[in-house]
Amino acid sequence: MTRAPVPPRILAVGTSHPPRAYTQDDLVRLFRCEDPKVRQFFESSHIQRRHLVLPEPDADGVMPDEDGGALLAKHLRVSLEIGREAVERCLEANRRTAVEVDFFATTTSTGFLCPGLTAYLIEALGMRSSVHRADIVGMGCNAGMNGLLTVASFAAANPGRAALLLACEVCSAAYVFELTARAGVVNSLFGDGAAAVLVVADERLTAADGPAVLGFESHIVHAARDEMRFDFENGRFSFYLGWEIPYLIGEHIRTPVLRLLDRFGLKRRDISHWVVHSGGKKVVDAIKYNLGLTEHDVRHTRSVLRDFGNISSASILFSLEKLTRERIAGEGDYGVVIAMGPGVSIETGLLRW
């Protein structure tokens, strides 16, 4: 008789963010934004504050310009601070140390590095030099799920070995912070943060240790590939977000979610917990009405958006941490994780406690 494969479990989550938080009002004032349309984005974003790393205004109160090189340097510096802290908190929550990590994957879309972030953090954290690694760069907000699929696959294939995912996003280093009409939506939305999860498959683990990762379903909408993208202008990146994106995601969200549920013989009502990416108010509404979710179902999605903004690939892990801290998930409960981003891409995963 063959034994059922042991599912990988998420044993711990750790998060970190830069110390300084800015309210939307702070930013409008700091950047001396007069454009009523841009101010409107800031006021109606459902974001109260975001953690960002911004330069100090000069003696005349003007925000200095940061060039591409300065932004890249900031990405590395801040990533090492918040990435390291998130990993340490995650490992500490499971009483493990960095030398016990066998596979280390990172996701980021806010700075291009070569060698990648893992090369810096393996040294800084004191991981073994034999650790396997993967740097997933440029996949955007959905990358948290692409990263989770990667570490969960490693864990499933290597029972007993520890896989660690770090989603590390320094959005304030991704592009120039400016409050023009085109950049307004984007600059009113994204925040900095890092989150790490530890995934291990071991038959001795139970629901009390953390939820099992049962499977994933992906869906890519080619028609909208150019609606969410980085542009390279005047030697720097800027991010473009088409107005129709939230609705497009709403329109397609049922395809991967129902496929995922069908595969496991489940209905939407069987799902007790929803972990949805805090992409922005509109996309959360779109998902809510297309999947029939309640405000309670998206409470963590909303609160992460309110307190941190959209932290790209780290958002779902921040929500997962909040859900974990509530301690309401009981043995046998199912959860669905949804992240969406450029592609246009919808990534889903099924958890069971």
Binding site: P246, Y247, G250, K281, K282, D285, A286, Y289
Partner: protein, 256 residues
């Protein structure tokens, strides 16, 4: 599935569920709550009908929760109320038109159940009452629902006095949408179903939900909810057909 507290009749597009505990005034027991939830799940999954009619057996709609379900010696447990409210919510989320066909007593949890529906049809002899406050406990989430139908003042007076309201009065208040003679309930239900015309599941579910939320959400937030819901509705085959037909006829409005 064998119901012991409910009876299900399925005829064409109409599923009728009858609360079937006539010897106990069709009182809501935990078994009934569980069965009601299972039945809703089944109707939703099978998606065979577009209308759900809820009625009571033996000349009574529903007398409220079944106090015999509470063991006399044990400490009363709140979880049953939570379960009951969950069942009410499930009915409110069904992608079907829901109609309460009310004869006789409609009290406490029974009124609550009627308020979860899209329409309430009652015989002249029907009566409506929230008796709980007078009995020393609370009228469930009736405190949440009733005021939305009849206004805060009337709802408070009705709940706090526990006054019994006749069908005619309930119509005036806005609790009931149609009153009929004692022998005319089936015909009145039929006429009510006909009044809904062609039923589009998504449009029914989304509209009910938006009305529900319109009391809870500020305008700006509600606007986002509406746009998300409307986007889903206009992606439907029904809306596309409507637009095609309008172009064919060269007329800006649908055929009515």
């Amino acid at each position: 599935m064998s119901e012991t507290t409910l009876r299900l009749d399925r005829v064409g597009p109409v599923a009728t569920v009858t609360l079937d505990r006539p010897d106990r005034g069709n009182a809501i027991s935990m078994t009934m709550v569980r069965e009601l939830e299972q039945l809703c799940a089944r109707l939703e999954d099978e998606a065979a009908e577009t209308v759900l009619v809820i009625r009571g057996a033996g000349g009574t709609f529903c007398s409220g929760i079944d106090l015999l379900d509470f063991p006399p010696e044990a400490k009363p447990d709140i979880r049953g109320f939570s379960r009951w409210e969950k069942a009410c919510r499930t009915i409110e989320r069904l992608p079907m038109v829901t109609i309460a066909a009310i004869d006789g007593e409609c009290a406490g949890g029974g009124l609550q159940l009627a308020l979860t529906c899209d329409a309430r049809v009652a015989t002249e002899g029907a009566s409506f009452q929230l008796h709980e406050v007078r009995d020393g406990f609370l009228p469930g989430m009736g405190t949440f629902r009733l005021a939305k139908f009849i206004g805060l003042g009337r709802a408070r007076f009705m709940a706090m006095t526990g006054r019994r309201v006749t069908a005619g009065e309930a119509f005036e208040l806005g609790i009931v949408d149609r009153v009929c003679p004692a022998a005319g309930l089936d015909a009145a239900v039929g006429a009510t179903i006909a009044a809904f015309g062609e039923i589009h599941r998504d449009a029914v579910e989304l509209t009910r939900r938006l009305f529900d939320e319109s009391f809870e959400i500020p305008y700006e937030d509600f606007l986002g909810c509406f746009l998300a819901a409307q986007h889903r509705a206009i992606q439907s085959e029904a809306f596309k057909a409507l637009v095609r037909e309008a172009h064919e006829r060269g007329v800006p409005r649908p055929r009515r």
